[in-house]
């Protein structure tokens, strides 16, 4: 439940994220870091990246988003954007490849 900016040191790489419900193998209860042993479990084929989607303003939304619905909110530069969790849920969603404040970002949840 966080946002990642996809800018890499190389600068020119635009990373577009596919979704894979690959489970991360559960570690035994010793003190090793999870990084030491990466054992993914594939549950689904990779999903196509989401790069195109509608955006609405707060006025356009009106009452179609309930005030109590959860969003991930982010501001980059002058631009603010909300990503409603009820639109990010499920294996076909989860990662939105977006541009905000002229930076390429991946909004993931």
């Amino acid at each position: 439940m966080n946002l990642r900016n996809t800018a890499c040191p190389s600068g020119s790489l635009l990373l577009v994220f596919l979704i894979a419900m690959v489970g991360y193998g559960q570690q035994a209860a010793d003190k090793k870091s999870p990084r030491d042993e990466y054992r993914p479990r594939r549950l689904l084929r990779p999903q196509p990246p989401i790069t195109h989607f509608q955006l609405k303003s707060a006025d356009e939304i009106g009452n179609t988003l309930n005030p109590a619905e959860l969003v991930v909110g982010v501001t980059v530069g002058d631009e603010s954007r909300a990503y409603p969790l009820n639109m990010l849920s499920g294996p076909h969603r989860e990662i939105i490849n977006d541009t905000l404040g002229e930076r390429p970002i991946a909004a993931t949840w």
Binding site: N5, P46, A68, V71, S80, P84, S89
Partner: protein, 198 residues
């Protein structure tokens, strides 16, 4: 999803595997590359909209109805976690519900953890503003610094009234996580009930 098993992402360019929670490539040509994390907030639409009336909003057909305030009906499952300090720190939502403003020193850096019960929003900010390190306390309208009694907003970190009006506290890269998942990925976290020390 963040529950015991955690999302792994691919990038289309290299098909490297990226751990969602760590923000790092675990396998593939970009292995060990870390993504730069941007501060963000998990909150209700109402609280975001009030603070950012000019916001745009992603719009896709809803794939769920579950993610509303009621998602937190079992607060013991959740923590606010901060991983860019040594050791990582986390705070139980249950603790934040009774102590919504916590002045902390993590990795020798002064931070404040804030919790807004109406929107169930947890955040962490730096306590240093214009070179001054402030100490905060709760207030019904938000939170106050003891030094000037300025009023600050728990969700945005913005000073809405008083000496520091208009200033915004620097957000830290804290995220809301399921407690068990956080501890799986950051087993060295300091958290009451887990590695509690000092």
């Amino acid at each position: 999803m963040l529950w015991n098993r955690s999302l792994v992402m691919y990038d289309a360019e290299t098909m490297s595997h990226w751990s969602h929670l760590l923000g790092e490539a675990m396998d593939g040509p970009l292995r060990e590359t870390k993504l730069e994390q941007i501060p963000s907030v998990m909150t209700t639409w109402e609280s975001w909209r009030q603070r950012h009336p000019e916001t745009t909003v992603l719009w896709l057909p809803r794939s769920s109805r579950d993610y509303r305030r009621g998602f937190y009906r079992e607060p013991q499952r959740f923590v606010l976690g901060l991983a860019d300090v040594n050791p990582p720190r986390a705070w139980h939502f249950e603790q934040l519900m009774t102590e919504p403003i916590l002045n902390e020193e993590v990795d020798e850096q002064p931070i404040v953890v804030t919790f807004d019960p109406d929107s169930v929003t947890a955040r962490a900010f730096s306590r240093t503003v214009r070179g001054d390190t402030l100490d905060f306390e709760r207030d019904a309208r938000g939170f106050l610094d003891r030094q000037t009694r300025s009023l600050w907003d728990r969700i945005s970190g913005k000073c809405v009234e008083g000496h520091y009006e208009g200033e915004v506290l620097e957000p830290r890269l804290a995220i809301v996580s399921f407690r068990n998942t956080w501890l799986t990925f950051h087993p060295e976290t300091r958290l009451p009930g887990h590695n509690e020390q000092d």
